[in-house]
Symmetry: D2
Subunit: 422 residues, 4 copies
């Protein structure tokens, strides 16, 4: 599926871990439809363990009983997703979300449930059984639910066809597949089979690959089989992780394009980790959130909100509804880092992109621990004339000749749209 | 247990893989008692999958049903081991073997059965269950029977205590524990717990660790927790594997001593792989078998016969009953390689050891592809007098002044016991 | 020095190795001035060993006598550069080249002549001597002329100041410094000192660093201290080397900008290696030369002709005077690879860039061994409208809707300037 | 040359660095002849830079003028070795040392003097010159005197023949060749040529290779071409270096034998570094010196005193004249480590060897930071009877049954000769 813009949405993980419920999903979908849809936000994604009755927090229960149909396929647990009763799966919830004008996604794990393998249950459309298609020594490093599927075995394709057929019948629009992105080259053939089955299931679905870091030398493969792939391990509200994203973004930026996006992971903003404590809010300062949103946008990474939206404060609402920044996310092309260097002993990073509608974007980041006032020669972005433009966060008009003077607090960012004509 | 000599015995694997039966074990035990016991051969060891009803060959059935007691402990499958009926386990078979004056061993896998974990069965002596002690992502690379046990969990020690209590009750003398020797440092704590439980079970049992290659930097650990450890991956009747053993032996030789032995693996001699085809015999030439037996003996490796003994031909019987060679295996001390070099373009290797009863052993190997006649200066073994002695395989007396002249065919070995006095 | 476009010129190495003479340089300068200057070609660069009287071919004489002034500075050998007589150095030759409206460059080696060190000669502006500033164990891997200079020693800066002062007095515009680009981090401090001294010598000179491959993790450093740096070891007329350049170019492309250019090395076209045999011509096919020129141009690499220009045939003249291609070299911005993949079993590579004057460049390469006819969806370059444009090599107008159909021979390339409006 | 015992002697380096003089050499030779010769000490070796007039300390002068004959061969500097005047070289000094019943050795550097190469001087017995045999980019990492010699060049063999012919004519008995032992495999061919030329020069000379660490995978090569090779980088009076020697010794011990010895480097005992300060004495405690002497002796490493012998105190004299320890150095065979482990939280190491005259040596080291009282089961050394014996340092008789009780201070060692009969 070739999307012009990388996906924008909400995911339940940062806020609820494995404990999300149908009610929470609906309240966030309602909020998004009312307040955010008009800015381009559209996906509502349920993350891990929707098939596990005892799931409660961000950690995993080991070897626990999962909800499964007769064909070895996981289905929603009715205690957290009551509308799934009677074998309806996520169809009623998807229908509700579609009725709001939004799209619906779910998280899956590569492979087939271990309990299916040990019980030797059936595969739909095949006379093979779960035990016969499992890949012996392929397991997830952090979760005990699944065995990998061996794509060379008869019945393997039928299994993957059967799960995507099920998800299509529910009305799923987005699959976040886990335990796969960084498992190359070992599990490459399983990825190819999974991707083929998904793309042939009869319904358009975004395929998102986790966890990172994805392998740069496999960039062409990710682009061909998926719509987005994680360039980092789990990202959280920690400056070191945010700082580290600059070098990841630098390496991956040229691989963003229509339908294929390097994914810098979810935005841990507003109330998060609510399964632990209702008072938890993101650790990021306001400046750091602006830095994050600026980098993700000029990189054209998917934008997936991680916090509980219904309790966003004004700052957070403004963060995700700044039209000029979201326009950069939509219209930036050919994004790349220009330089990273110390200016007056403070590290700064400069990115640029073109605007598909005309003009040049630049984003300037102060990644040091002191505030700064710097001057960027226009020749750094190969401009030899006067420029006119706008700072995107503030909306202030600017003009510059020879160089652009910028004040930045520590960890702050500014972004500009520049033109050589006024 | 401090044994003066490394174990000598028979193991069912090379000949029968996972398909060995009680009848086969007994016929080999009978043969050993009658023909080989007097030469020092004493252990009869049942290798992998004695708990698996459908096991048939050298390969493994995946995710198959295993025989298990109520405490998550594997027990013999009655179809291949009928005397185990009625919950007797291996006790009757062990008793039979003991009655012949021999000792009895079994193969086990590190960990707890996956089926116990998925069924969440009990642990003897603990209120914890199988699911609570399994180590999430610790599995064997080639076999789907077990999960590792997490030694930090309550119930883990009770599980290991309970299995060695069971084996002791059966009368087991030798445990070959698999999926552990080369799994350091990851599974080091599980090895320590397993070894402690075995040594405190109330019955003396040899602990043998597989598979190799063991890690040289962990030599002190192996010596402290076990009696023998594999220095190589599975060894078969292939010259390349035999040739490769010289460099492994060179590295490990100084770690042999009372109660702790580097293990060069089983001797694939006579009829092997009988589960595939009754006509299969070892691929090794006679010279290569002499080379193998010489190297294993001067290295003081355990000597574990892999072939069906009842159908040994004369050559093979002579190979395993040469008293002078077996005396070297018993009395060699301080074994080590002297040199490896080309002489007249043919590679030769010289080993030496002292004899605990007096005199010096040397073993000379032609590892090249041409026959040779070489002369070894006595100064190479720091002898400055005349020497007198015996070639061990032929029993011929020899004497030498200044140098020893030796004729060797390609891949042949000779071994000598030398004294400076006649 | 911030140049808007990466340098275009001629270098003596590919054609004459160490044997180039003043006469040859002048004849090529005359030719360039008359036929190529109007297309942007302007630098005339004398490569290695201009200070060595006995130099004859592409190989180096070991430990040979070099021409040197009293201050340990190398000077031109009068037998090949007669105008340098009387201590005039390259001043007369530079003056001649300037008189043609061209610029003049020379090759130097990092460090100080070994003969200066062993004779312990003087350093201008310092009471230290050559022996006192040499870096003991820093030598070039292929050439015996120099020792590295230890930047921590008194006199080191004076030495580097003195050589650039001399080159400035001659009128040098371009320094190709060898044995330095890939010697990081070991020789990083020497590079910093050398660069500082050059930039403070009072004359603008391009600094070009060799040999490659430069280190990607030092990209920011190269950009700050130099104008161009080699991304590859010596490049010659061999398809494997050309093919290999695509992955190098992909990694380095975002580091091109005003005044700093990744350097894919000289263009071995027309008559080359004339010191060996006057009949030698480039091994590259016409298609391969077009592929090379297209890649170098969209990457914005420096373009430095390696062949004897006065004997260029028509194809070669057209190759270096195609105005549309040279305009891409000049006006491309934000160049990067879009994808590399097999289409109908033939590998193709797609690059894109924006045109600073408006429109989008794309370059399509068939790097497989069969001819092809492919169709590139316009969405690959994020265009959703009809496009109009021109193929640059042929000058043919094209238009496309949804996809662009392209025929390519094996190893051929095409390049297009596209606009969404006609 | 096949020596039964590894060399014992004195070397000027630890005490005098590059500043040693003829007078110092003679005073140490006189002392050795009078006090130590009867214990087996016999070599007097002049270390680095005997050809350099300005040498003063343990550091090297860079690019300095060396004394050289017309054939590119270094000769003693007359200011420090006045007896060498008139072209006599070391002949008079060697003659003096021989007259004391001792042997004479010198240090050399691999290669040919750089000054010979830059002056292009002659090679004896060849029409080639220094410049023609130098290996371009082969230099020493810490010393600027030499270039490597390229063994593939005509004249290379003649050069090496000519230097050993010269040393033989002087009466040299021992060559310590530097910049070679750890330079494999790069300089392996030069080592082979050098060794061949030395062994064919007509005079028996020990060949000692420096610096270490030598490469274990090249053990067979060192044994074939040399008599001793350094298993460590420069060893000094620092516990960390001494502690580290245990693991080096463990790896190399089986390679000791008649004529070939792993070399643990010189013994920095008594007054050392006298070129810096006359008051400097070894930093090692008495216990540490006993540990060192015990390890070197049971390993059968060469024993080369590094301190100024004429000012040895009683402890140091006793250290180097303990007859029982020196007998172990002479008669130990098949030495190897038995174990290294913590006993009561203090690390201990046990070594063993056989005595060529009968009996077993053991050496016990306390390498921890606390004193200890330990009990070693006799089965650890495969003794199952009572033992009788002597502690070598103290001369005290001991006997033991089942286990040996030993008291050790931190960093102390004890050594025993044990027999099963009294």
């Amino acid at each position: 599926m070739v999307t012009k813009t990388s996906p924008m949405g909400w995911n339940s993980w940062d806020c609820y871990g494995t404990s999300v419920t149908e009610e929470i999903v609906k309240q966030n979908a309602d909020f998004m439809a009312k307040h955010l849809k008009k800015y381009g936000w559209e996906y509502i994604v349920i993350d891990a363990q929707w098939f596990e009755p005892k799931a409660k927090t961000h950690s995993y229960n080991q070897f626990t009983e999962l909800c499964m149909d007769e064909y070895s396929r996981l289905i929603p647990t009715e205690n957290r997703f009551p509308s799934s009763k009677g074998g309806k799966g996520f169809a009623p919830l998807a229908e509700y979300i579609h009725s709001l004008g939004l799209k619906f996604g779910i998280h899956i794990m590569r492979g087939i449930p271990r309990q299916a393998v040990h019980r030797n249950t059936k595969i739909k459309g095949s006379d093979k059984t779960a035990r016969q298609i499992a890949k012996t020594a392929s397991i997830c490093a952090w979760n005990t639910d699944m065995y990998g599927v061996d794509p060379s075995k008869d019945g393997a394709k039928e299994y993957y066809d059967s799960i995507f057929e099920l998800y299509a019948s529910w009305g799923v629009d987005f699959i976040k597949c886990d335990d796969i992105a960084r498992e190359l080259p070992h599990e490459e053939k399983e990825l190819l089979m999974l991707s083929d089955c998904l793309h042939n299931c009869g319904r358009d679905m975004i395929l998102s690959l986790s966890p990172g870091p994805a392998l740069l030398e496999k960039a062409e493969l990710y682009k061909q089989v998926s719509n987005m792939w994680r360039i980092t391990d789990d990202f959280w509200d920690d400056w070191e992780l945010l700082y580290d994203m600059f070098s990841r973004a630098e390496k991956w930026c040229t691989h963003a394009g229509a339908g294929h996006w390097p994914d810098a992971d979810m935005l841990p903003i507003g109330p998060i980790k609510q399964d632990y404590d209702k008072s938890i809010r993101t650790n990021f300062t306001c400046n750091e959130q602006i830095t994050m949103m600026t980098l993700w946008s000029i990189l054209r990474s998917p934008l997936i909100i991680g916090g509980e939206m219904t309790r966003f404060d004004d700052f957070t609402m403004n963060l995700v509804t700044n039209e000029k920044i979201l326009e950069m996310h939509k219209n930036a092309r050919h994004s790349h880092q220009v330089w990273r260097k110390e200016i007056d002993s403070v590290e700064h990073i400069l990115w640029t992109a073109t605007n598909s509608q005309g003009g040049i974007y630049i984003a300037v980041f102060n990644t040091g621990s002191a505030d700064s006032e710097i001057e960027i020669p226009l020749t750094d972005i190969e401009i030899y004339d006067k420029v006119y433009g706008t700072e995107l966060w503030s909306g202030k008009a600017i003009s510059a000749k020879e160089s652009l003077k910028i004040k930045l607090e520590s960890h702050e960012a500014k972004a500009f749209l520049l033109n050589t004509q006024n």
